[in-house]
Amino acid sequence: MKKRLALVCSLAAAPALAHHGVAGVGAAALEGPGAPVESATSAVLPEGSTLLALKIDHAKFQRGRLARPDVEGDFSRFTMLGVGHGFTPWFSAYAFLPYNVKADESGGFRTRGFADVSVLGQIGFRHDGKGFSLVPKSESLDEMEDWHFTVFGGASLPTGRPNYRLPDGSIDPGMSTGFGKPSYTLGLTATKMLTDKLTFNAEASTLWFKTYRYATDYTTGTDFTTRFGRELRLNGGLAWRIHTNPEQKLRTDLSLELQYLKLGRDVVDGVGEQATGGRMLYAVPGVRLYWDKFSFAVGVKKALWKNLNEQSQQQGAEGLEKYRLLISASMLF
């Protein structure tokens, strides 16, 4: 049985990175809506501007029953570099290049490499109390207090390495650095400034995969197909502005997110795979710092609750992390 290691398709993280709190510190931006650490928000890039973003997601997993005492516990480190551009005041597009490292404690090996690149498009709109409209070129702080929304959609491209062969000649899709086929995401965000210091944010998104036929697994002598389970995310969060310094163009926000994740069961050779999929609820406390045109965020993600399929047999999967350390940085120019 293949382990269902935490996948983190680049598309799963892309919306968050695409939307994540971009620096906007100016006379007025110091007082604009805040952004949580990981969830996607409803901000779009200003027309003609370009965003560079980096995110590191280091997931440390609980040690499984098969853990070797001389080996560190499983971990995965998902690093992603993103670039985005505001083509209109209400449409932004992004491209992301992930680099993944996955360590398997029981196998005593790691896989690493560039994973599937992804592209994402995002449309921003708002409701001003009278009706919906696309995000205009210029908004005052008073308009930013209105409900804002985005819809986003994207796809990953199979540029990674799905047939990553492990030392024993086997292929474990969960350890590979590519999915072999495109995956797709669709999502919706909603953001509202509740007060001049407190911002509410919500995200609902889904991610789905296609079936890919892997190369021959030397340990079994056969090839096989896998389709990873669909993912559904429902995130809610608050960002609270605790500090501003207009002279130094500094702003600090505290944030707290609750993230519900439902993972579908993987399908291998047309049959639902045991010990895959489940539901879980994460909490992500964090802090975000803005300085001029830069934004930095740090958060810790931990499962508050989980109900995994065949939970006792799962190892190294979402929901079984000891913690996930999230670090992101971005620059707008």
Binding site: H20, G24, A29, S138, S295
Partner: protein, 232 residues
């Protein structure tokens, strides 16, 4: 993420933090022109007298938007008689020159060690009764004009004003409500603001442009729009 759309604002100056507010208060059948710290953004004495000769022009507009000049006696506060649908007052404190040691109310000519110099021009418009004609600017100077009847507004309502110069919309001008910058004008000169309280409304904008008269480096124009809503 929030910048966003505020990118333009990053390049804009906030309203001069040390500047005085200028506003028109109703007094009897006319108005008085006051200067000082009316909004919460400014600390210090609430009233700051201005020099004789500060007021340059006063215009009284009727419901058709036609203006007539008013005579204003020198002194502080300037008392401006007349029942106007809108009252416009232009003023200037003249030239200012900043050196490492002091800021003088004089042109830079002949002053050593000049760090910065400017000519200051101010205006304030108080709308007392609404008519469609008042949705147009009254003067060619920097001016803030409501695009619709402001007297229908209540607390938390949003409203749009247009900033004009030479009678044309002016983009990228920072606009403040009660002394706090809330946004910059878009290409059509408009910006959307929210009513935060009843009573006298203070909406201000400023614009700094190069000046080549040899007496100062820049011309700083500041303008204020007043209208009064029922106090809550």
């Amino acid at each position: 993420m929030k910048f966003i759309r505020l990118a333009l604002l990053l390049c804009l100056p906030a309203l001069p933090a040390a500047a005085h507010d200028l506003w028109l208060e109703k007094e009897g059948s006319g108005h008085v022109l006051l200067q000082g710290h009316r909004t919460g953004a400014h600390a210090g004495a609430e009233r700051v007298p201005y020099e004789a000769g500060f007021v340059q022009q006063a215009l009284c507009a009727d419901a058709q938007g036609k203006t007539r000049p008013l005579t204003v006696a020198a002194g502080y506060p300037a008392k401006i008689p007349g029942d106007c649908a809108a009252l416009f007052v232009a003023a200037s404190s003249g030239y200012w020159t900043k050196t490492a040691w002091e800021t003088k109310n004089a042109p830079k000519t002949g002053i050593a060690g000049v760090l910065k110099s400017w000519r200051s021009e101010d205006s304030v418009k108080r709308v007392s009764r609404w008519s469609a004609a008042l949705a147009q600017p009254l003067t060619p100077g920097l001016e803030i004009t409501p695009v619709d009847d402001p007297f229908r507004l209540g607390v938390d309502d949003k409203f749009t004003v247009r900033v004009t110069l030479a009678g044309k919309p002016r983009a990228n001008v920072p606009v403040a409500y009660d002394g706090a910058t809330r946004g910059a004008t878009s290409d059509d000169g408009t910006v959307v603001l929210k009513i935060r309280h009843g009573g006298l409304q203070m909406i201000a904008a400023s614009l700094e442009t190069p000046l080549d008269d040899g007496k100062a480096d820049t011309l700083i124009r500041a303008t204020t729009l007043n209208f009064e809503l029922p106090a809550k």
